[in-house]
Amino acid sequence: MFGYYLTLGLRSLRRHSVLTALMVFGIALGIAASMTSLTVFYLMGSDPIPWKSDRLHVVQLDNWDINEGFDPNPDILPDALTYLDATALMAASKADKQAAMYKVVLPVQPDNPEVKPFLSLARATGSDFFGLFDTPFKYGSGWDKSVDEQHGRVTVLTQPINEKLFGGADSTGKRVKFDGIEYTVVGVLDTWRPRVKYYDVSNGALNEPEEAFIPFTTAIELQMGSAGNNNCFKNSEPGWEGYLRSDCIWIQFWAQLDTPAKLADYKAFLDAYIGEQKKLGRFERPLRSKLPNVTQWLEEQKVVSSDVEIQVGLSFAFLLVCLVNTVGLLLAKFMRKSGEIGLRRALGASRGQLFLQHLVEAGVVGVTGGLVGLLLTWLGLLGVRALYSEFKAVAQLDWVMVATTLVLSIVAAMLAGLFPTWRACRVQPAAQLKTQ
């Protein structure tokens, strides 16, 4: 029966090809607009590390100015730590895994005189970094804790820079020169491109990860300043040592806490730490600390921009217009067929059968609209990538979204078809036949 309805539907659609094209085009456009914006919204807002995002926590301590909070919104605490606090928390080592980190700029001097020196962004961090974020290794591994203690001159490279320096070969054990100092390569990461650079969202949450990793303690010893944000509410004492003792915040600190009990313990530990520091004259504001997990952190940092949210809202309003449009056109089409429907009723077709037949016809419009819409979505995402250069990783067709597109378009067309179908089935056979 379904096959027969399909044939009938296709025939009817072909008969009014302009009207059909109009309906398909309308649905496709609405679907494309909403799916393009929804894909960006979904990929930006989706959990970048779903298997452990609830166990990874950012440490936030309110060390800010007693007279003026870090943000006009009192619930927003400083988004980074001071060197004093980051090193104290590292020394206490109360979490399952923990790492302090900041971004640095490194001049890279290749051995090969043919390759010109170039600049590279690197992350100075602790040995736990790789375990915290489950970074995949292609060669070698991270460094161990003893390297942190000894300020070892070692580095973990990412694929792009390993490609540039060593042609992509296994470079573990080889040496690279950053800013006049030699480092030994201990590991090379496999492709690692979190959609959102959640471990440090400042200076562009959609940027790629840094190209190399070096020990935090080494970077401090070599007096490398932060290439990321640095916020101070008062002047620090002169020199590098003075800066390290200051209340300036520039270090991200992540802790892995495997159970809710450990999270509660860690929170208590932080509050006790602030209490101790208060006795030393720091932390003059009311005692506040926070441990947002990955998803809470991305939300607080407003990774999904308001422009993207407005675009989602607008595009769904646009889809609604397209659907209303399709309802109207389908209604017109089905009402035009009143005579034919009356005839079929008179020949014994039940209302249920007619209902099914017209729903199939609406479904065909939906499927076609969905497929065309998918093509337009792909074009739309291409356009979004051209407009927003940093959206490369979040403006991609993704399986969940492709499935959503198709389901959405069929459901939309069925919904749009429901009312016209119902109206068509109420056609009185006698009345229709009489007018013929």
């Binding site: 009207l19 109009l22 085009f25 309308g26 456009l29 609405g30 607009a33 100015d65 007693i66 007279n67 003026e68 700029v105 001049p107 001097q109 010109k116 020196p117 170039f118 600049l119 800013d179 006049g180 200076n203 300043g225 002047n235 002169p238 020199g239 590098w240 003075g242 800066y243 921009s305 308001s306 422009d307 949210e309 407005i310 675009q311 809202g313 607008l314 595009s315 309003a317 646009f318 609604l320 217009v321 397209c322 209303v324 449009n325 309802v327 109207g328 056109l329 209604l331 017109a332 089409k333 009402m335 035009r336 979004v384 407009l387 927003y388 250069s389 009312f419 109206r423 007018t435 013929q436």
Partner: protein, 404 residues
């Protein structure tokens, strides 16, 4: 006028009326709000930065290795650049307007106050800074060569005299001249004196609500970390050629450094506002697509009605209605439906605007957007219905005698 029969005919097909009306209502709401967002972004992007953008570019370098001498490199580089034919002037600078990266400080009027009066962007430049930027000095004077000092990690306090943007002066001392006034960049140190005021100088953060127009020029060169950034102004039309030339020459002067980020200020402006540009383009596409869909929808529905009423049209023609009357009938009908839709749409437009205000700190929709949108949609509706209506007017009176 033949409104009464139109209304009673419409009442017999309420569903179609509701559908077209709803479509027009939503279209009005979306178009008005989108146009408003577009115009706001355009206004944002059109604000002048206060500097010469057409002929300026920036280039930076990072020195590496032991014994890299920042101060000497600065002197050599600047001498080289200023001597090149076509270069108007060059300065060291730490940040570029509209680039979204820079140095900011709080300003206090008294030493005792606990919170600052206003935030400001800090531009460290030398005595060529003002000329290179091309900012317009409206009071006071430029820096003298002997006022320029070095600033490194151990430097405390601030130089005695600074130049300020007019907007910042008005914020600090409303209704008074800023020239000669004193303000604290550091309340534990002596204040700085305003020796000059420029008409306009945007900060590196044009989207900041707090300090987009607040800037201070400080006569210092940042040394000690091997990083240097220059701003160069050239004669008109020579920017791109000189940018390449200077980038190459900087590398030749000193081999132990990496020269990078040679970019024109026009490009920095483009990148600084790329989000707004993208939003404007996307909304323009949405508006265009929406108007097309709505117009096609009206055409489709009107065609359907014309077909359905062919016999009635024929009857009316047979009873003496002219072609013009039939045409007018469909145009009037569309006008009535559109008007009903627009009435609902006006309410929706304001509702949408309220949602934007509550969630995204948007501004209130100016009053004229909705009336202008209504006029546009009336015209759109009339144009869309014109084709089907003309077809209706050509229905021959003999149609009354035939069966459909």
């Amino acid at each position: 006028m033949e409104i009464r029969p139109i209304l009673s005919a419409l009442m017999r097909s309420k569903v179609s009326l509701v559908l077209i009306g709803l479509q027009i209502a939503l279209t009005l709401a979306i178009v008005c709000n989108s146009l408003f967002i577009i115009s706001e972004r355009a206004a944002l992007m059109q604000r002048p930065s206060g500097i010469n953008e057409a002929d300026t570019f920036t280039v930076s370098s990072i020195g590496f290795g032991e014994g890299f001498d920042d101060a000497r490199t600065f002197a050599e580089d600047l001498a080289m650049m200023r001597s090149l034919p076509g270069v108007v002037d060059a300065t060291t600078i730490n940040a570029i307007p509209m680039s979204n990266g820079g140095w900011s400080e709080g300003l206090s009027l008294t030493q005792e106050q606990k919170t600052s009066t206003a935030p400001t962007a800090i531009y460290f430049v030398d005595d060529h800074g003002l000329n290179t930027l091309g900012a317009q000095l409206i009071a006071g004077r430029d820096f003298r060569p002997d006022e320029v000092s070095e600033r490194n990690r151990t430097t405390q306090g601030w130089p005695a005299g600074v130049i300020m943007s007019r907007a910042l002066g008005e914020k600090l001392w409303p209704g008074q001249a800023a020239l000669g006034k004193q303000v604290y960049l550091d309340t534990e140190k002596p204040p700085v004196t305003i020796i000059g005021v420029v008409d306009r100088l945007q900060s590196p953060w044009p989207h900041s609500k707090r300090l987009a127009e607040f800037s201070i020029l400080v006569p210092q060169q940042l040394v000690g970390d091997g990083r240097m950034r220059y701003l160069v102004r050239t004669a008109p039309g020579q920017r791109d050629a000189l940018m390449k030339q200077i980038e190459a020459k900087l590398g030749e002067i000193n081999h132990s450094r990496i020269v990078r980020e040679a970019r024109s200020i026009e490009r920095i402006r483009g990148e600084g506002y790329s989000q707004d540009r993208a939003m404007m383009i996307i909304l323009t596409i949405v508006i265009a697509a929406l108007l097309i869909i709505t117009a096609l929808g009206i055409v489709g529905m009107a065609s359907f009605w014309v077909t359905q009423r062919t016999k009635q049209i024929g009857t009316r023609r047979a009873l003496g209605a002219t072609r013009g009357m039939i045409l007018r009938y469909f145009l009037t009908e569309n006008f009535v439906i559109t008007t009903l839709g627009l009435a609902i749409g006006a309410a929706m437009a304001y509702g949408f605007n309220v949602w934007l205000i509550q969630n995204y700190e948007a501004a209130r929709l100016p009053w004229y957007y909705v009336p202008a949108g209504c006029v546009a949609l009336w015209i759109l509706g009339q144009l869309a219905v014109l084709g089907p209506a003309r077809r209706a007017s050509r229905v021959p009176p003999a149609m009354a005698t035939r069966s459909v």
